[in-house]
Amino acid sequence: MNTLDKTTDEVLRLAAEHFKVQRDQLTPDDDFFKKLGINSLQALDLLTRIEQHFQIELPDYELQGVSDFRTLAQRIQSRL
């Protein structure tokens, strides 16, 4: 099973690939809405890619109040 660090790294990589930014521009504590300039619709797209990649279901209400990659990774980790 993934460690939290590995999960966080994979989330950052997925976000960088999907939103076409350099991976090293993203850090775990970044606010993904602000850093990536995305809206809630694009966040749902990222959610779908996360579910597909980690083979989990992550209800969108679990993302309430979550805006940084590290906390997002914690939510994912709890489903692995």
Partner: protein, 267 residues
Amino acid sequence: MNIFQGETLSWQVLDGAVELTLDRAPCNEIGRSTLADLEKFIVALPALQRDAHALIINSTRKEGFCAGADLRETYRVAHELPNDERLPALRDFLERIHHVMNTLDEAPLTTIAAVHGVTFGGGFELALACDLIVADKMTRFCFPELRLGLIPGFGGIPRLKRDLGNALVRDLLLTGRSINAAKAQAVGLVSQVVAEGDALRVARSTAAQLKKFDRGTAIAAKKFIKPIPHDELRQEIDIFCDLFMRPAVDAGLRKFVESTDALPYLP
């Protein structure tokens, strides 16, 4: 009229399939203009289906198939009307949209919803009125109405109950969460999950397959296996109207309308 271009949608007959294409920014929200165009479509449908064996409903909007009811218009209209006119106007709108949905649901040709991206609320309900759903892998389905203090009002609950087990209906309705295409296929809602951007192509391929079968037999089979839950559909309108006048709904709509996110889809 085999080809039509309306304000919010267009249709054409292509290779024996009627293609109804939604195209209203930002994500095909269903308000009065879309309803008017859909009503034109169902008037034209008897003539269109003479030369067709399938109907494909799809969207050109990159955001998705359809985000549901036009909540900004709903809020604005509710506030423009005198109090005693709000409920009759709402009921009229709902009855008209139900007539469209029911007509699509029992149309004497196989109907396919080719969906992608956001397929929420009324958009989900439009897909549920179809016989088959072909979803690209980035589709998300959701009934977010409870977030506004409402229930789905375009026939979604009776149609979802018709297709799925009650446990999943309760999950979707009571949590307001969205599910992805893979999950939707796993529970039997979606017939095919396809690559991103490929839903229309696969729907056309499916429609081409249907062309091989005797149309009269297909219509008889559909009528037998797909009852229209008329009583529950009428009940849904009544419950929706009862709920709509509550202050919580106005507050929920105002929050949506005042959101700075152009497409506020997260709960």
